[in-house]
């Protein structure tokens, strides 16, 4: 499967494409160089021939015919010399050894076949023919073989370098592919394990700065979050079961009691008690639904400008008798008409939940203070008590649904209150700070400093 995967792999395809591109660019460069070299070689040859013709013409004009013939014959003997043909107007040889050169005046190209039949060697020649004073004709030429030698060298070099580049390309591509493939395989193994239900599976991070590594790190973060949520869901379902079991058991007891009861007054008291238990169960359900609703974020549709001071006043007023009945004192400080953008119902519920928390989880005699943040230091409120407080290490945990500290397991009510407040704060982009009120717990619900856009 390894080879298949290798061939299918994107990076192999990419390196093949690269190799193709390399070949194409070498061919293109080679062609251009070939043309340039050809042109340059021919130009040089032309110059050489033209100079030679000019030199012989000068010789002829100054020295006369005989010295010119001698000079040409001497040139022919010279190794590596050009080819010469010097003839009378009638075409009879005066000097030179290449009668084939004779032709019309000016530049000419000619293909010459050398050697014996079967081992022919075709050469292209460049020739210049000029008529000297007196009618004698001089032809000078040379084959273009030297230019071809340069061309061949260029092509050979290019082919060599090109092959090496292509091989290198493929080798690097394959190597990179193998590395990438192993990381991808690690990723897909992680996915498979998670799909099979092992939420603790993680991508083995190697620490290299590659893109896949970054994806792996991102996947790990996502899995961390999912694991957290899954754990939360598991814990919540367990806690829901636990928190509902208790009132349901009480409900069952009250109903059994009611059935067994003979006296009408006692019976209706038992039925009332049962009703209260049912109401408590419904409240837990409502809170769960509300929490889900708030976390879904749909609540923002109902946002409006509301007076936080008025909400605090109203809710505190509603709770005051109950708080005092429970033996606590309740004081409001610095209420002022502070306009915030939010959901009036939910803000009221946040205040109510914080008040209920302060009331339920503290002993009688506790002083509860509701205070609004002063005008110059932001918008929000704070509800503090001087009760036993909560260990600071538990501040994070008590915001989670259903979690109550062991010591408060005995006090009534499901642990949804604070998580609901935290959710309401999140919905309002507000912060819920828990702090030690020294002694006691203070919960501060603080809106963002700059009002968010409210269109």
């Amino acid at each position: 499967m390894g080879d298949n995967a290798l061939l299918r792999s994107t990076s192999v395809r990419l390196s093949l494409v690269y190799a193709g591109l390399v070949i194409a660019s070498f061919v293109l460069v080679g062609l251009v160089m070939w043309l340039i070299a050809t042109h340059a070689a021919e130009k040089e040859l032309r110059q050489h021939i033209a100079l030679e013709v000019a030199a012989i013409r000068t010789e002829f004009e100054t020295e006369g015919l005989e010295p010119t013939i001698a000079a040409i014959d001497a040139r022919v003997q010279h190794p590596g010399a050009l080819e010469y043909w010097f003839a009378t107007p009638a075409g009879e040889r005066l000097a030179g050894d290449f009668p084939g050169l004779a032709g019309s005046d000016g530049w000419r190209r000619m293909t010459v076949t050398e050697g014996t039949a079967g081992a022919e060697n075709r050469e292209e020649m460049l020739i210049f023919t000029a008529a000297l004073p007196g009618g004698a004709r001089l032809s000078v030429g040379d084959d273009l073989g030297r230019a071809r030698a340069v061309q061949n060298t260029i092509l050979e070099t290019l082919a060599l370098v090109g092959t090496a580049a292509v091989l290198l390309c493929l080798a690097v591509g394959l190597l990179a592919t193998r590395t990438i493939l192993s990381r991808i395989r690690a990723l897909s193994t992680t996915f498979e394990r998670v799909t099979r239900g092992d939420i603790t599976a993680r991508y083995p991070v190697s620490g290299s700065p590659s893109d896949i590594e970054q994806i792996g790190v991102g996947v790990n973060r996502m899995l961390d979050r999912i694991e957290e949520l899954v754990t939360d869901v598991r814990r919540v379902s367990r806690d829901v079961a636990h928190d509902l079991r208790t009132p349901l058991t009480h409900l069952q007891h009250s109903l059994e009691q009611a059935r067994a009861e003979e006296r009408p007054d006692e019976r209706s008291a038992a039925i009332d008690a049962a009703n209260q238990k049912a109401a408590e169960i419904l409240r837990i359900f409502d809170a769960i639904v509300r929490l889900a609703e708030i976390d879904a974020g749909t609540g923002k549709l109902r946002f409006a400008d509301v007076d936080l001071g008025a909400i605090l006043d109203r809710v505190v007023d509603a709770y005051r008798p109950d708080v005092e009945e429970a033996g606590h004192s309740l004081e409001t400080v610095d209420l002022w008409p502070c306009v915030v953008h939010g959901d009036e119902d939910l803000l009221a519920q946040a205040v109510a939940n914080l008040l209920e928390n302060a009331m339920r989880h503290t002993p009688p005699g506790t002083a509860i203070t509701v205070r609004m943040l002063p005008r110059d230091s932001g918008r929000g409120f704070e509800i503090a008590d001087n009760g036993p407080g909560v260990p600071e290490t538990a501040y994070g945990a008590i915001r989670k649904p259903f979690l109550r500290l062991e010591q408060s397991r005995t006090t009534p009510g499901p642990g949804l209150g604070l998580s609901l407040v935290a959710a309401i704060a999140r919905l309002h982009d507000a912060e819920l700070h828990l702090a030690n009120a020294g002694p006691g717990l203070s919960a501060r619900f603080e809106f963002p400093r700059k009002p968010l856009a409210t269109n």
Partner: protein, 224 residues
């Protein structure tokens, strides 16, 4: 009152119908949305109680259809969904009140009673006298046998709310909504405690209490 109940759950429908018939209302029950809409258009009942989720046509669409048809009588929406968004959607569709399941029969009866008395401003009097207690709604003053009683502003509202509806039951939920603007069920007995304090201020030792507790439902003030 002539009431049309559109509810697809047979057990709930029977429970509500029996309870309301005992209370003296005439009930017609439909279990399908389309049938319910036809029945409402044909019979023009005094009140329609609609379940939110129905086969055929859902409760919201039904209420909208009724309203666009020009049906003016009150509509009470029942629902198993009690989220803020649902409540708002229901009221915006044209329902007059919204009751989340499960609810007690007493709560439903109190809501029906309140709806049947709408609009509340009609026949509003500036002074209400019940027994020895007189409230002056303009000056927001309360007197017993002509002697003023000092009440906190919301205690006054509580008393006014109950006295202006003398003879009918006002439930805890209605009071929470009307006096304190609280739309959720608090985990404590805040209404009871307020009533208790109010009673202490307005009742005279020896006399029967003005505000009576209706078990499982709410409070009422009898007679005028």
């Amino acid at each position: 009152m002539d009431i049309l109940l559109i509810e697809d759950d047979a057990e709930t429908a029977t429970h509500i119908a029996e309870g309301l018939r005992v209370a003296g209302h005439a009930l017609v029950v439909e279990t399908d949305g389309m049938d319910g809409l036809c029945a409402a258009q044909a019979r023009a009942p005094d009140l329609v109680i609609v379940d939110r989720m129905l086969p055929g046509i859902d409760g919201i669409a039904l209420v909208k259809a009724l309203r666009s048809d020009g049906y003016k009588a009150p509509v009470l929406l029942l629902t198993a969904l009690n989220t803020v968004a649902d409540r708002v959607e229901g009221l915006e569709a044209g329902a007059d009140d919204y009751l989340a399941k499960p609810f007690s029969l007493e709560e439903l009866k109190a809501r029906i009673h309140a709806l049947s008395r709408r609009p509340p401003l009609a026949g509003q009097r500036f002074e209400i006298v019940i027994g020895a207690i007189t409230i002056d709604r303009l000056g927001r003053k309360v007197m017993r046998d002509g002697l003023p009683i000092e009440l906190q502003p919301r205690e006054y509202l509580l008393l006014e709310c109950l006295m202006s509806r003398a003879g009918s039951i006002v439930t805890r939920t209605m009071l929470l909504k009307e006096i304190w603007g609280i739309h959720f069920d608090p985990g404590t007995n805040i209404v009871e405690t307020h009533i208790c304090r109010l009673r202490a201020k307005i009742d005279r030792g020896g006399d029967p209490p003005l505000i009576e507790t209706v078990r499982g439902a709410g409070y009422t003030i009898r007679g005028r």
